[in-house]
Structure formats: C-alpha cells, structure tokens
Symmetry: C4
Subunit: 255 residues, 4 copies
C-alpha cells in the first residue's frame, strides 16, 4: 500500500479552479468552514485520498454501513470560478505523513489545473472574542494587498502546522499561489464564530454568498456529540491500556 | 523484509468460503471466539503472516521450542461453507501497519476466493451485563435484514478500530461483502460471555452448532495467566527502563 | 517524496572547501555560532535540504510570506579557504532521519569536494561558567595536536548525538576528516558565551576574524522571543490535546 | 541508506562455525558475557552492522577519535569449532528494526555457513540469587537433552524479546538450529554473576575454558561508569526538553 492513495471517482472539467482546504485543526475552524461550504453549495464528491497514515478506523454510518477514514474532494461551479473543496475526518497522524499526504493533494491540484489554494484554519490565542479577526499568510507578497482589502489581518510572524501550512510551503515549490486564512479562536472550543469569520472573508474574495444560519447549529451538534463521547472514549482508553499489558503476553521478558 | 509476509503452507481447495477474523482486541472477545471456534471445529492451519510490525518476540512453548509471533489461518469444512479462521497473538503495533497487514490478509482472501468476511470483536461500554447484545456493522446495506433476524443489534453510529474495521473498509474497495459482529462488554475484563454471545449469533448465521462448555474455562485460564504475569511484567518494565538509561551510555549528551 | 531532498540553487566553484555545521542543539550553541558567522561574513545561500522528517511547519516571515522549514547551505570565500555554512531551524525529528539527513549533507559535501568538516555544538554540564572551555572530538588522531594548540580541550570520553556526531561518524566512512567543537554550557539556557567561545577557536583555526559584538544581542533576542512564545505554545498544546481526543471522533472504540 | 548495512572487513575461512550473540539486554547479561568471551579468546573483528535504527550517536574514545554506534562481529578458532561473536552498544531502537537487523545478522550467518546459534541474555525475576540458574529455549526439540546435561533448566513457558529471541524465530525459517541461554537475574542490576553462569554453561557445551577472574571486575567498572553518568544524563534530558520546546519555535501554532 502506498503512503497515500489518490482515487479519482469522476473527472469533471474545471476552469479557473481554486482549491479550498478545510481539514480538522485548532478549534475545528477549518473543518467547520469546509463542511459548511460543501453543504451550502451542494458540491459533488469526485476524489478521495486513503492512507495508512490516517487512523486505522472505519466509522459506522446511519444506515449501518461503514466508511473508511479518508480525505474527500468535492467540486462546485460558482460564478467565474470552479471550486474544489477538500474535507476529511483527520489529518495524517505522523509528522512525515503530513508531508506525504500534502504532496498527494498537490498532485491532484496539478492534475485539475488549480490556479490558487486557500487553506482554512484557526489561530489559537487562549482568549474568547466576539469578533474574531481573520489572519493571513501567503506564498507570494503580491497577494497581500487584495486580501487586506477583504479584511484579512497580517502580522508578519508565527508558524502554521499541518496541511494548512504545507500546502503553501510545498505548493510554492510547484509554483502555485496560496493563501492561509486563520480565524482567531480560543483554541480549546469548537468555534463556529471563527469558522464564520473565515467564510465571510473567503466568500467576499470569491464574490459569492453563503447562508450562515446553520453553521452555529452544526458546531453545537459537534460539541454535543463530542461531550457525549468523552466519557466513553475514556472507558476505551482504560480498556486499551489493559490490552496493551496483555500483549506482553507471557511472564518472562528477556532480551 | 517486507512489511507483512504471507506464507502459504498448504493450498486447500475451498468453496463458498467465508473468512472469520478473531484477533485480540477489547475484552479479547474476538480472540476468545476465534480460538474457541478453531478448537471445537478441529480446523487445520494452512497459512501464516509474519511482520516486523508484530512484537519482536518469540514465545516459549510447552516443548521448550520457540514460536515467532504471527497471525495464523486455519480452514475447516462445515455444511455448505468452507471456513477460514484467522487468529493470532497480536495485531500490528503501529497504526499504519494495521493497514498494511489488513491488505495482506485481503490478498489471501482473494487468492482463496473468499465470498464473505465476518470480523469478531468487543464493544466496550464500561458496564457489566449478564446478557450481552451483539452489535453489527456491514459493508453493504442489504446485509442488515438477515443479520437482524439472527439477533444482531444495529445502532447506526460508532467507530471500529484495527483489523475488525479495516477488513470491512479495505475489503469494500475490493468488492467484498463483510460484517463486523461486536459483543457488548465491559472493556476491562477478559469476557467469555461476550465471546459466547458473538459465537451464538455467528453459528446461527452459518447454520452450525459449537459446544460452548469450555469457552468460560478458557477465559478463566487466560485471566489467571494474565494475573500471574502482571507482577513479572512490572519487574521487566523497571528493568527495561534502567537499560534504557544505559543506552545513553556515555556521560555527555551533545548535539 | 524522498526522505531528504537536496536542492541546489547555485553551483559556486569552491576550493579548499570546509563545511561548518551550525544546527540547533544543546544551548543552541551551534545554531547561534553558525547564524552569527553567516551574518558577519555575508555568506550566500546556494542549497537547501527539505525533508518530511523536519517539522511539518511553515514559518511566517516579516513580509507575510511563508517559509517551509528546511536546512540551508551558504558559501563564502575567506583567505585561503572557501567555507560552506550549514544552518537550519531543526534537526531531523526521528532518530533514523538523523542518519538519512546526515547522509544527504555528506552527498553535498562530496559534490562540492569538501576537504574538512567542523561541527559546532554545546556540551551540557549543568553548571554556569564565565569562561567556557571548548571541547573537541575528531575522526583522525593526527588532527588533535593542531586543535590543542588552538585551545581545544580533549577528554577522551563522552558521546555526541545528532548531526554534530553523525557527520563525523558517517563522514569517516567516506574518508572525510572532521572535527566536533563543543562549547561548555549549562544546557538549559541559550548560551551566547559558549557560542562565542566556539567561534573564537574556529576563527583562530581558519585564520580569520569575526566581530562578536552582536552575538550576545542575538542570543538575548532569541531568549526573549522564546519566553514570549512559551505561554502561547502552552495554549496550543492544550488545544491540540483536545483535538486529539476529537480524532477518536465517535463514541465506540471497538477492535 | 538501507535499514541495516552489513560491512564485511575481512573474509576469514571458517569451519563448523557457531554464532554467539551477546548484545545488551536485561541485566546486561548477554553483553557482559559476549564482551568477556571476546577479550579472553582474543577474537578478531571482521564485520560490522550500521543502521539508522541504532542511536544517532558517536562515542568518543580514549584517543579522542569518535566511533559510530554499531554491532560488531569477531571470530576466533577454538578446538573443533570456529566461533563468531556478535557484540554491540545497542539493539535496534524500534520494534520493526529489531526484525530488520536480525535478518541482516542472519544474512551474515548464511554467508559464513554458520551451523548453530547461541543467543545469550538475562531472565529477570526481581529476586537476587547467589547461584543463578541458566534457562534455555530452542528451535528444535532434539537440542534439549544435550543442554539439560550441561545444566540448562527448561520451564516450557515464557517469552524472549529482541535479538535473542528473533535470531531463533527468524533463524528457524532459514533452517538454522539455535539456542537461547538466559541467566537468572534480578533485572535492575548489571549482573556479572548471571553472565558468568551463562558462560560456564556455554563453555562447557563448546568444550573450552575461559578465565572468569575479570568478569566481576568489568561489571563493577560498567556499574561505576553508569552511576557517574546517571546525573549527567539527567542534566542533558532536561536540556533536551527545553530544546524540544524551542523547536515549536514561533508563537503561533495553527493547523
């Protein structure tokens, strides 16, 4: 099995294409934004990435069938652009797999002639704010002015980890222009407000409108599900530790 | 050395073949069920998987010879089906090796023309119950009805980790129908009752009977062995930590 | 993606070339020394190493563009030698990647016909000293005398971890002469004094002079930046842990 | 760089060759026994294994030159057998590298037509004993009787981790006969007595004599060196943790 397998389900003809990355991260800001955009724009799935560096896990769905953890690419035509929206349940679970999966994402970007990338994420501050700013970072200086006009704040310092950073860093090496939009967030709560702030800036840049009514609702739903599961995950952790001990199965440890 | 080596000892002619996976996991439910089935049906070993992602360990057997940790495939003919039963002392010890080993298992599945897979496991709840339910998850919706008739409960939510999940998730990609049967269990005890519940459903589905008298006995034996070893493993842990310190062998750490 | 990618930006003609390694390590002694030398000698970048075993991270620069974490090679002509100076934000983050990256560095060394290597680092003692010694280790016995004359202290015992050690150990196998210079340092502070001591010895050996006025300043700057970030990193850590929990996304852990 | 590199320095002609493995493990029993045997028999080095899965470390020797961590093979002719003695400063540091390095050792075994392997180790019990037993495990049942006559105790239960186990488990797959001899030891002390017990049995089996006078001395030396370094290693640990924090170098962690 390769480190990351790109599986293309359909080959839509796309023009002036922009990739939008909304994978899980701080405050789930990117994931919330990506998932909401997907739903509101009725985007259509056309590709997937599977990887042994995603959790070895299937999720059981409402219809009792399972779905292997993966990353998913959707497309939708809006105004003068075609959008590819990348979402998923997890990022790569080892540092090096972050690189390998980002390279696979960029392979798709090149195959579908993507002109620009927006990566969405949160910037954790430890504070709660009612009017979260949207911070930016870019691959090329000339991108800054236009983003400032759309309300993006630049601070000229910081670091970006994971896919939201690597798609810029590795994308540059392939000559791709890319922007990271980071919603100001506490860091320890699932933050629909920050996701909304990011989407507000992004849609302004794309010249489209998205209804935000349900994003808060979705975040609450996610929060509730998370709390419900917290106790159960704890139980499983303990169970696992016991199993772990069992794997040293026999009484004598010699080497 | 490859990430997982499939070694075929014999090439039995099998028809209408079903794979049953009983590897260690929560409550050792799957392992207990698989091992018991093996014994009661007098199944015969025909293949093994070795992997550097299984523990680097040999077990000393009654006759003082050692056995390298591996996964083992047995076959047996029952009624209208041939069964392949997969058991072992460990699952892959890194997340990505879970994927690589599952792919190797599926290679065997395809070589022996397996039509269906049942994976057996436990579902940890943190509670002790006298009448454990058997929960299910499937690769294809049309499998649900028949399983419900056999007493399987479906909840349409949850996640399955490890081989019991990946054989479904990766099997689907090869067009294989598969079912995961999970016995309700506390999670922190070795649970013969949950294993029995799973076997009761499975044998009903296969139209065969298996004597359950000794499964409780085996679980007790396993429990006893586990307790006996707990203290000794502790000793070895401490020893190892000391060794670890020694591997920084010389006084100065510079880099 | 390869384990380490050597990217050559320019192919300067170099003669009697010496490689000087100044990557981060104990007390940041090597990094401070390398970075300072680079600045004072106005060296020019000509090559980079990218690797999935460097942190999956981009840093945001003053002009709001991002820079992918990497190692960088600079060159400068001084007196009778050409120098290649190797600096970077990180060493390989897994033990085996230390080897793989060191081999890639040595590939460059051979390509540019490097005759000698100096690796710079700190030797942690747990004590604070006003006149830090510079300890040495070598690949070939005949190098010792000359170093002693330049003030290097030899103790004939110890270990060197990471790039500063492996460039000697693996370099020897390619027939390269190499020296490790280690500044005596506390170990838990960023130590400009130790870096200065190392540079004093090194410049003496190279027969050049470097102004040391700003090295203390730079170390203070680094210290300040480090303290400022400490609290924020803490916040992010907590955030990450919460995310981690989320990645076990659904209530049931079964395997 | 390959996962393990076998480097053959000389190709001695060997007959009726036996491999003796004395790598570090519980109580350093195997290492003490191997190192002592080497010294007393004046064995000669002829091969080495380097691996990125050994610690990324060089040790500074008495003459101030460095030595890259490796495993070493020595040979010596005794009576009717040629012996190959395998020693080293470390075993593979990841579980899978244990397998990969063991396979490389077995490649050498086959190249030099080794007929039999003895692996030496400790069996930790948590107790201190004055007359340590020597426990055994074998690849082939027919080896047991002869070993019993030499004083080896068999218990028919237990597990062997690391090289001492894998050389049996993987050796069997290549048709090689092998024996593991384990000296009874506390587990948390460096145990010359257990090493002596193992050597007593081994030399009896080989029909040779080795002077044991200095083994106690060597163990004390090792112990002393270990204690001296304990505090310094502690210092370095703390230093490293601080460095680690620095590698998250910039204030904002976003992904």
């Amino acid at each position: 099995m390769k480190d990351a397998v790109l599986k293309i389900l359909e080959r839509p003809r796309l023009r002036n294409t922009i990739l939008i990355e909304g994978l899980p991260g701080i405050g789930l800001v990117g994931k919330l934004a990506g998932d909401h955009m997907l739903d509101e724009l009725n985007a259509k799935k056309f590709a997937e990435i599977y990887s042994p560096y995603l959790p070895p896990q299937v999720n059981i769905q409402d219809d009792n069938t399972v779905k292997l953890i993966c990353m998913e690419f959707y497309y939708v035509k809006v105004k003068k652009n075609d959008l590819i929206i990348l979402v998923g349940e997890s990022q790569g679970i080892t540092p090096d797999s972050q690189y390998r999966i980002a390279e696979t994402i960029l392979d798709l970007v090149e195959e579908f002639n993507v002109k620009k990338i927006f990566t969405l994420g949160g910037l954790g501050t430890g504070n709660i704010t009612n009017e979260p700013k949207v911070f930016g970072a870019v691959t090329h200086k000339e991108l800054v002015d236009n983003l400032k006009k759309a309300g993006v704040v630049f601070r000229g310092t910081g670091a970006i980890f994971g896919a939201s950073g690597l798609l810029l860093g590795l994308g540059m090496q392939r000559g791709i222009q890319a922007v990271c939009l980071m919603g100001e967030t506490h860091g320890q709560i699932i933050d629909a407000k920050a996701a909304e702030a990011v989407l507000t800036v992004l849609t302004r840049l794309l010249g489209i409108k998205i209804d935000m009514t349900e994003i808060e609702e979705k975040a609450k739903e996610t929060e509730k599900q998370l709390n419900k599961m917290s106790k159960m995950v704890e139980e499983q952790r303990k169970a696992q530790e016991r199993q772990q001990r069992f794997s040293d199965e026999v009484p004598l440890y010699i080497r």
